[in-house]
C-alpha cells in the first residue's frame, strides 16, 4: 500500500519504523534536511524534503496516488491543513495527529467532517485512556479492550507464591470457577501460546482473556488486589496529565498533580475542578512526601523526560506505592525500565503506531474480514487482533477443532450479538461475529482467513 507520512519527529519516526516492517511503500516528507537524511539512511523509504503544505512537495511525494496520508508534524493546524490538501490532491484516506485539548470537543467532529479526515489521533488522549483503564484494575500491568469493552486482554505477572503457579491450564478454570483463557505466556524473553497441559511458574508474565466481570472474579479468587485506585498522584501536568486527571476526577477519584511551571498550574486549576494542583518540582522528594506519597493508591509519572520518569517511579516503588505507572517515549528505554522492575510502562508513541497499523491493515483487507482492533502485547512479541467476520470468510459454521489453524495462533474469543464467549472445540464462527485472535512470533495477520493453514 502506498503511504505518505508527513513529519518525522518522535511520533512520526515510530510510525515509520512500524509501517516499514509491514512492507508498505512509504514516502516521508519533512522540512528538516538532517531528519530526512537520517530517516533515509535507516529505513527503506523515499524521503522528500519540504513543507508539508506545499502542493508541489506533496505531489513529488506521490500524494495523488497514495492510499493513506498521515500528518504527524508538531503542529495540529499544519496537520489539518496538509491532510486537507492531501485529500484534495487525491489521497484516499487521511489521518491527522491533533493533540490540542481545544480541538477535542465539539469542534473536532466538525473539523473531521469538513476536512474529510478518516481519523484524528490524539496520542495523549489515547495514552490517558490506557492509563485510566490500568488504574481501574491496578493488579494488571497492561489492559487492552476489545469490542466496546466487552472483552479484555489483561497482562499480569505471577508473583512469588501465586496461586496460579504450578497448576496446568486445564485445571485452572475449574479451580477458580471463572470463565477466562490464558492466551499467551512470556517466560524469559520468549512468548508462546500455551496448550492445555501447560503449567505456569512464578515469574511468568501471562495474558488473560475474558469479559471484565469474569476476570474480576478470577482476580478475587487468586487474591490479587482488585481495589480500584482512589487516590492518585500525578507528576507532570502536561496534556496527558490533564486528560488523565479529568477522566479520574469525573469518576470520583482524588487526584493530586505536581507541576513545575506556575503558568501550567494555573491553567490546570482553571480547567479542572476537584483536582489538587501543586506547584513544585516533582523530582523533589520532600514535596512528594509532604503531599502524602506513602498513602497513595497509585502514582503516575508524566514529565517530559523519560529518565526523570523512570527515577521518580523507582522512588515511588521503593515507598511501597501499590501501583506505579511510568510514561516513557523512547522504545529503548521501555525495555530497560521493565528490566528495572517498573511493570506498567506506557508509551504514547507505541499506542499511536498501534492505531495507525491497525488502520492500515484494515484498509488493505477492507474487502474481506477486516481488522477492527490491533494491539501489540507482551512487549511487542505478540499481536492481539479483533476481526469482524465478513461474507468472504469461507470457514463459517465449522467447529473450531476441525479448522486447521496455523501454529502460534489462538482464537481467544468470539463475540456474537455483543455476548462474549470463550471458544471451545465445538464452537464455530458465523458471519457477523467478532473474533479475537492472538498471534505470536512475528506473524502479521491482515485478514481472518490468514489464520487458516
Amino acid at each position: 500500500m502506498k503511504i505518505v507520512v508527513v513529519g518525522a519527529g518522535k511520533i512520526g519516526s515510530t510510525m515509520i519504523s512500524r509501517l516499514v516492517t509491514e512492507e508498505h511503500d512509504l514516502t516521508v516528507v519533512d522540512k528538516d534536511v538532517s531528519v530526512v537524511s537520517e530517516i533515509s539512511n535507516i529505513y527503506d523509504v523515499m524521503c522528500v524534503c519540504g513543507n508539508a503544505t506545499d502542493c508541489s512537495v506533496l505531489e513529488e511525494a506521490g500524494v495523488p496516488e497514495a492510499d493513506l496520508f498521515i500528518a504527524a508534524t508538531a503542529s495540529d493546524e499544519l496537520n489539518m491543513l496538509s491532510c486537507f490538501l492531501g485529500r484534495r490532491l487525491g489521497a484516499k484516506h487521511t489521518i491527522a495527529r491533533i493533540r490540542n485539548p481545544e480541538y477535542n470537543r465539539e469542534s473536532l467532529g466538525f473539523l473531521k467532517q469538513h476536512l474529510d479526515l478518516s481519523m484524528a489521533i490524539n496520542p495523549e488522549m489515547l495514552a490517558a485512556q490506557e492509563m485510566f483503564n490500568l488504574l481501574k484494575l491496578p493488579s494488571a500491568i497492561k489492559i487492552e479492550t476489545f469490542s466496546q469493552m466487552n472483552v479484555e486482554i489483561v497482562e499480569i505477572i505471577l508473583r512469588k507464591g501465586s496461586l496460579m503457579a504450578g497448576v496446568s491450564l486445564m485445571d485452572l478454570r475449574n479451580r477458580f470457577k471463572a470463565k477466562f483463557l490464558v492466551c499467551a505466556v512470556q517466560r524469559g524473553s520468549e512468548v508462546f501460546i500455551p496448550s492445555g497441559s501447560f503449567v505456569l511458574q512464578d515469574g511468568d508474565k501471562i495474558g488473560l482473556t475474558g469479559s471484565p466481570a469474569e476476570l474480576l472474579k478470577l482476580f478475587r479468587a487468586i487474591g490479587l488486589e482488585h481495589r480500584q485506585a482512589k487516590s492518585i498522584m500525578i507528576i507532570g501536568g502536561g496534556r496527558l496529565g490533564f486528560y488523565l486527571s479529568r477522566m479520574l476526577e469525573n469518576t470520583g477519584n482524588s487526584v493530586k498533580i505536581i507541576e513545575r511551571s506556575p503558568k501550567k498550574c494555573n491553567e490546570l486549576s482553571q480547567k479542572l475542578s476537584r483536582t489538587i494542583v501543586i506547584n513544585g518540582d516533582g523530582a523533589q522528594q520532600e514535596i512528594m512526601m509532604e503531599e502524602g506519597l506513602e498513602n497513595m493508591d497509585a502514582f503516575v509519572t508524566l514529565t517530559g523526560m523519560d529518565e526523570e520518569n523512570i527515577l521518580i517511579s523507582m522512588f515511588a516503588s521503593a515507598h511501597k506505592v501499590p501501583k506505579v505507572i511510568t510514561k516513557i517515549n523512547r522504545d529503548e528505554l521501555c525495555d530497560m525500565a521493565e528490566k528495572l522492575g517498573l511493570d506498567s510502562v506506557i508509551s504514547p508513541r507505541k499506542i499511536v503506531s498501534d492505531r495507525v497499523i491497525q488502520y492500515a491493515r484494515a484498509l488493505e483487507n477492507s474487502a474481506g474480514s477486516s481488522v477492527e482492533t490491533l494491539y501489540n502485547i507482551m512487549d511487542d512479541k505478540a499481536e492481539a487482533l479483533e476481526f469482524i467476520v465478513g461474507p468472504d470468510f469461507s470457514h463459517t459454521g465449522i467447529p473450531l477443532k476441525d479448522l486447521k489453524i496455523k501454529d502460534n495462533i489462538l482464537i481467544a474469543g468470539i463475540i456474537r450479538d455483543r455476548r462474549p464467549m470463550l471458544p471451545a472445540g465445538d464452537d464455530f464462527i458465523l458471519q457477523g461475529d467478532r473474533v479475537i485472535v492472538l498471534a505470536a512470533s512475528g506473524r502479521k495477520l491482515g485478514d481472518l482467513s490468514d489464520i487458516i493453514k
Partner: protein, 488 residues
C-alpha cells in the same frame, strides 16, 4: 563491522557473476570458439564454487547494512568481480599477462574503455562480447543489479546504492529500494535494446550492433575495430552519438517521463546545463575542425560525436582527434573532467557537482564583497545543505590529488607530458582515450606493469567515486568490535 554479512553478499555476487558469464559462453558457442567456451566455463566454476560456499556457510544473523558495510561490500565486490572477470582472457591465452587482463577487465567494469590490446580485430568473438558486456554490467553497478534481483536486501540498502551509484546526491524514485533498482535496470535494458534495434536498422551487423550498444549503454567505449566507429556509416555514428548522450542523462528523469511529469523533466537544471555544455563545445570544435573536413555535415558529425563520446566518458571516436587543432583538443580535455549527469552511467565529476562547485565559488566571491550577505546555494530549486556542499568541495580536492598521484607515478615510464597527463585524467574519469601515445588511435599497451596497476586502481577509484575503496582499505573498519545492535 558485520564481516559475515559482507562476505555473504560477496559470495552471492560471485554466483551472480558466474550466471552473467553464461551470456559470453553462449556467444562463444554460437561462433564455435571452443577455447573461449572452455575459458568461460572454467571461470564460471571458479566463481561459483567459492561463491556458493560463502553464501551457504555464512548465513548472517543480522542483515542490516550500515554505511561501513556498504563501503566494504562495494569495494570487495568490485575487486572480486575484476579479479574473476580477468580470468577468461588469461585462460583462453588471448592476453598473456594477468595484469594486462585485469586492466582490461577493470577498464570494462568501470566503463573506461581504455585497452591494452594492440590488435582488437584478431580477438575471438566471445571475449570481445565479454569485454563489452562488462561495460554494461559496470555501467549501472553490479550490486544495484543484485539488489534488484536477489531478495532480502532490507532497510539500509541505500548505503550500497549510494556507494555504487555516481553523483553527489542519490535519491530514490519510488519508496522501496528494490523497486527503485528494478525500474532503473528496466530503463537501462530498454534503452539498450532500442539502440540495438536502431543500429540494426542502419545495416550494422548483429554482433557489432550488440557490442557497440553494450559499450554505449555503460558509456564504456570498447570497440571491435581498430578505428572504433570511423568505418561505420554516418547514420550509425549519429545513432551512437544520440545514445551516448541519452545514457549520460540522469535515469531518474526517464522515470519522470514515464510518469508523465514532463514539467519536472523540462525544468531539470542539470539537464539544461549538460545540454548547453554539449552544444557549445560541439560548436567550438565544429568551427575549429571545419578546415580539415570542408563539409558542414562532416564537421558537425565529428564534432558532435567526439563531444558526446568524451562528455559521456564513453571514449568511442570517429576521427583521430589527437590531430585536431589545439583549441579542439583543449575543449575535449576539459570535457573529460565534467562527465555526464549524476545518476547516469557516465563517469567524471558529474555535471551537478560541477554546478555546485561553481555556485559555491560565486557565493564565496559575493561574501568577499558583502561580508554580511547570506546566500544559499540551490540546485533544482532546492537549497543544498552545507554538508553536501562541503562534501562536494572535499571530493573535488581528493579527486585532484588522485589525478596528481596517478600522473606522477606513471611519469616514471618516460612518455611525454601530454600522454601521461591525459592518461591519468582519462583513467580517473573513466573516459578511455587520451592524447599522444594514448590517443584514440593507440592503447595503453606500452605502459609498464607498475603503471598498468596504478592506472587500474585509478579507474576503480574513479568509478566508485574514490571514498569506498579508500575507506575499505583502512583495516580498522574490518575489525569486529564495532558491530552495533541493529535497529530494523
Amino acid at each position: 563491522m558485520n564481516r559475515r554479512l559482507v562476505f555473504y553478499r560477496a559470495g552471492q555476487l560471485l554466483v551472480l557473476e558466474a550466471m552473467l558469464l553464461i551470456l559470453p559462453l553462449i556467444v562463444s558457442l554460437i561462433y564455435g570458439e571452443m577455447i573461449c567456451v572452455k575459458a568461460f566455463a572454467l571461470t564460471m566454476v571458479i566463481a561459483a564454487v567459492p561463491g556458493l560456499a560463502l553464501s551457504f556457510v555464512l548465513r548472517p544473523k543480522t542483515r542490516v547494512f550500515f554505511a561501513k558495510e556498504g563501503f566494504a561490500l562495494v569495494s570487495l565486490a568490485w575487486i572480486l568481480m575484476s579479479l574473476v572477470g580477468a580470468l577468461p582472457y588469461v585462460i583462453s591465452g588471448e592476453i598473456n599477462s594477468y595484469i594486462d587482463a585485469l586492466f582490461e577487465t577493470v577498464s570494462g567494469l568501470t566503463t573506461t574503455g581504455a585497452t591494452i590490446l594492440t590488435d582488437v580485430e584478431s580477438m575471438s568473438r566471445g571475449l570481445l562480447f565479454w569485454r563489452s558486456f562488462t561495460h554494461w554490467i559496470g555501467g549501472m553497478g553490479v550490486l544495484v543489479l543484485m539488489m534488484a534481483i536477489i531478495p532480502g536486501n532490507s532497510g539500509r540498502g541505500i548505503h550500497i546504492m549510494r556507494a555504487e551509484m555516481a553523483g553527489p546526491i542519490i535519491g530514490k524514485i519510488v519508496p522501496k529500494i528494490k523497486d527503485t533498482t528494478r525500474i532503473l535496470y528496466i530503463i537501462y535494458f530498454c534503452l539498450t535494446a532500442l539502440e540495438i534495434i536502431l543500429l540494426l536498422a542502419g545495416g550494422m551487423p548483429v554482433f557489432d550492433s550488440v557490442v557497440y550498444s553494450l559499450g554505449t549503454a555503460g558509456t564504456g567505449g570498447f570497440g571491435i575495430k581498430a578505428d572504433s566507429i570511423e568505418s561505420y556509416s554516418p547514420y550509425v555514428q549519429w545513432v551512437i552519438t544520440a545514445f551516448m548522450l541519452l545514457f549520460s542523462v540522469n535515469f531518474n528523469l526517464y522515470y519522470l517521463l514515464i510518469l508523465r511529469r514532463f514539467k519536472t523533466f523540462v525544468t531539470n537544471r542539470e539537464l539544461w546545463c549538460f545540454g548547453a555544455v554539449v552544444l557549445i563545445s560541439a560548436a567550438i570544435i565544429g568551427v575549429s575542425i571545419y578546415p580539415l573536413y570542408n563539409s558542414v555535415g562532416d564537421a558537425a558529425r565529428h564534432a558532435f560525436f567526439q563531444v558526446a563520446s568524451i562528455s559521456s566518458t564513453t571514449g568511442y571516436s570517429t576521427a583521430d582527434f589527437d590531430r585536431w587543432p589545439q583549441i579542439a583538443k583543449g575543449v575535449i580535455f576539459l570535457l573529460m573532467f565534467m562527465g555526464g549527469c549524476a545518476g547516469s552511467t557516465a563517469g567524471g565529476l558529474k555535471v551537478s557537482r560541477v554546478m555546485l562547485l561553481f555556485k559555491q565559488m560565486k557565493k564565496e566571491f559575493r561574501r568577499m564583497l558583502h561580508p554580511r550577505s547570506v546566500a544559499v546555494v540551490k540546485l533544482e530549486g532546492k537549497a543544498v545543505d552545507d554538508e553536501t556542499l562541503r562534501s562536494v568541495s572535499i571530493y573535488f580536492s581528493v579527486y585532484i590529488v588522485l589525478i596528481a598521484l596517478t600522473f606522477i607515478i606513471i611519469c616514471v615510464d618516460g612518455f611525454d607530458f601530454q600522454t601521461n597527463l591525459t592518461a591519468a585524467v582519462s583513467c580517473v574519469n573513466n573516459v578511455g582515450p587520451g592524447f599522444g601515445a594514448v590517443g584514440p588511435a593507440f592503447g595503453y599497451s606500452e605502459y609498464s606493469d607498475i603503471s598498468t596497476i596504478v592506472l587500474t586502481i585509478a579507474m576503480l577509484l574513479g568509478r566508485l567515486e574514490i571514498y569506498p575503496l579508500i575507506l575499505a582499505s583502512d583495516p580498522r573498519i574490518w575489525t569486529k568490535g564495532s558491530r552495533k545492535a541493529a535497529r530494523p
